[in-house]
């Protein structure tokens, strides 16, 4: 897909995100806005997804298609918007986010049967392990498709993340591309102050991963180029780690670059300011 087209989708996804968290006055806009280019690029350009008569179709096993797992489940708004805009469920359902009886739970889950989601996440540090398991199942099934997983940088403080980091190279999981959203922020403040992860690239290299960086994680062309490069590095017996440098809250000026918008919803006035900065390209839900 043309970069311009992807950018238009990203603009609508950002509108969805701020409207969703505004409507329920809760949720996590910061990381969602920062990872918008990645999820749009994956779902609308890079991932091979199962389709029938031009529509995406979902089944839990996901054989014969690429898979995506979201480990930092709190950025559910961006994932829900991208899944809905891609056609996994009706766009109007975004209005039910975090409401009672909704399939769009605060954090993603399989429990309510929302198409597109294969595992619950929210309690941090578990997604890479799950993605590796899915990649092993693909290996056993002789299915060459890719497994993608996104983690947060704050999440790298969880111990299980490093258990997973050790496992994947040892078992030569090649069809795995992991991303870390390197926005440098977490709930209590800048990551370097809360708990310094130091050089994540060197760490993953030392653990045996193929490591690369996308320095412009909110530039659609750079993200598409970066994922394409990651795919070329994958499939050779080594897991690939992509450090994705993004801005928390990217696209809404007053949210950008601050941990304060990690998990805070905009008020009516702030919503208006935000929406004025984001073009409505696909029609609001």
């Amino acid at each position: 897909m043309e970069i311009k087209e992807l950018e238009k989708i990203a603009s609508q996804v950002r509108r969805d995100i701020v409207r969703m968290v505004h409507a329920c006055q809760s949720g996590h806009p910061g990381g969602s806005l920062g990872c918008t280019e990645l999820l749009v690029a994956l779902y609308f350009d890079q991932m091979h997804l199962k389709e029938q008569d031009g529509e995406v179709v979902f089944d839990m096993n996901g054989e014969g298609e690429d898979l995506f797992f979201l480990s930092n489940g709190h950025i559910s708004p961006v994932w829900y918007s991208v899944l809905a805009r891609k056609g996994y469920f009706p766009v109007k359902e975004l209005a039910t986010f975090r409401d009672i009886d909704s399939r769009l739970q605060g954090h993603p889950t399989t429990h309510e049967g929302l198409p597109g989601i294969r595992i619950a996440s929210g309690s941090l540090g578990q997604g890479n392990s799950v993605a590796m398991g899915a990649a092993l199942a693909k290996r056993l099934n002789k299915d060459d498709h890719m497994v993608y997983v996104l983690m947060g940088d704050g999440e790298q403080q969880e111990g299980q993340v490093w258990e997973a980091a050790t496992f994947a190279p040892h078992h030569q999981i090649g069809h795995l591309i992991a991303f870390i959203d390197l926005n440098g922020q977490q709930i209590d403040g800048p990551t370097v102050e809360v708990m310094n992860n130091r050089d994540l690239g060197k760490k993953y290299e030392a653990f045996g991963w193929e490591v690369m960086t996308i320095t412009q994680g909110n530039d659609m062309a750079e993200v598409v180029k970066g994922i394409t490069e990651a795919r070329s590095k994958a499939g050779h017996g080594k897991p690939v780690m992509v450090l994705l440098e993004t801005g928390m809250g990217y696209g809404v000026d007053f949210m950008m670059g601050s941990h304060k918008w990690h998990g805070v919803a905009p008020n009516d006035e702030q919503l208006k300011v935000a929406l004025d900065q984001l073009e409505e390209t696909m029609g609001d839900y």
């Binding site: 399989t110 997604g127 199942a137 099934n141 496992f167 078992h171």
Partner: protein, 318 residues
């Protein structure tokens, strides 16, 4: 009292290993994972015959649970194996989110459960695992009694869709159940019909209950003994049918008295049929080092303790 004899003693974990060997030959979707305890879990034959379907995880149980959840996406039936302490308490949140809440077809298979792990002491003797696992919505909890039953249960859970916690142990215990038994998940097994007291036992305590039944018989007490190998879902019908006949109950388990089989039964009785119930269980404490026999004795988990509990229960009737 129906006679139960045995010619051989074996550990229940070997029953698990034997079940896995057969599953490896019969079901291509079965995969095994282990966290550096392959010998203890008796997995060597499975690994030898199916090297591609075994994943050594090293000492990283949290990752093992996540991997298992992921393997189900793609249709695999993962058996995640380690000691019961590390298979439950250490990874409760991973099981809760990635397995139970996500409703993944993962079989958590836990050896060295309870106090009979013995000399390693309390750090390894988990007595809270049944409680933790049965509190998880959608989790099936199974605690078979001997080698044959553990083997049968291992095979049965592969054909069952949904998360399962299978609990077994380290010490050798008499093999007294049928080698060709059909294991029915959630269906209590009538060991001996009686009319004076219902003894509901699980795991290693089933053999103790049989011995207790023989001792009670000598004193003129006719004990009904029921093997509750599946603690969740609990066979409430069998429990109620029995206590409506006998009028009192004893629960016997190698577990903390909080949260295990006894509490599961008490809930059924309180709601449906109020009869006296006595617990044979560890009295809200940690274990310690010692031989399995000495530990069973000290922590009140022997046939003698079941006899005393049965008498107390009978006395409380009327």
């Amino acid at each position: 009292m129906k006679k139960y004899t045995y010619t051989e003693k074996k550990d229940t974990r070997s029953g698990f290993g034997a079940g896995m060997t057969e599953l490896g030959q019969e079901n291509d979707n079965v995969v095994a994972l282990c966290a550096d305890l392959v010998g203890s879990l008796k997995l060597a034959p499975f690994i030898k015959e199916n090297p591609d379907r075994f994943f050594q995880c090293g000492i990283s149980e949290a990752n093992m649970i996540g991997l298992s959840a992921g393997l189900t996406i793609g249709g695999k039936i993962p058996f995640a194996t380690t000691f019961a302490n590390f298979a439950t308490g250490r990874v409760y949140d991973q099981i809760r989110q990635s397995v139970a809440y996500s409703n993944k077809n993962v079989k958590i298979c836990a050896s060295h459960a309870g106090i009979t792990l013995g000399e390693d002491g309390a750090t390894h003797q988990i007595l809270e695992d049944i409680g933790m696992m049965r509190m998880l919505p959608g989790m099936t909890v199974i605690n078979p009694c001997d080698y044959n039953q553990t083997k049968a249960a291992t095979k049965a859970i592969a054909d069952f869709e949904g998360p399962v916690y299978l609990r077994f142990g380290r010490p050798v215990v008499p093999i007294f159940t049928d080698p060709d038994q059909k294991f029915e998940i959630g269906k209590a097994w009538m060991v001996n019909e009686g009319k004076d007291v219902s003894i509901f036992a699980t795991g290693h305590l089933v053999w103790e209950a049989i011995q207790a039944g023989e001792m009670l018989e000598k004193e003129g007490i006719d004990a009904e003994i029921i093997n509750i190998h599946t603690i969740k879902p609990l066979d409430e019908e069998a429990i109620l049918k029995s206590v409506r006949k006998t009028g009192c109950a004893v629960s016997a388990e190698e577990h903390n008295r909080l949260g295990g089989l006894g509490d599961s039964i008490a809930q059924v009785l309180v709601k449906n049929q109020l009869v006296p119930q006595e617990y044979v269980a560890v009295d809200d404490s940690f274990g310690e080092s010692g031989t399995p026999e000495k530990l069973m004795e000290k922590y009140g988990l022997t046939a003698k303790d079941i006899v005393a509990a049965a008498k107390r229960a009978i006395e409380r009737k009327s």
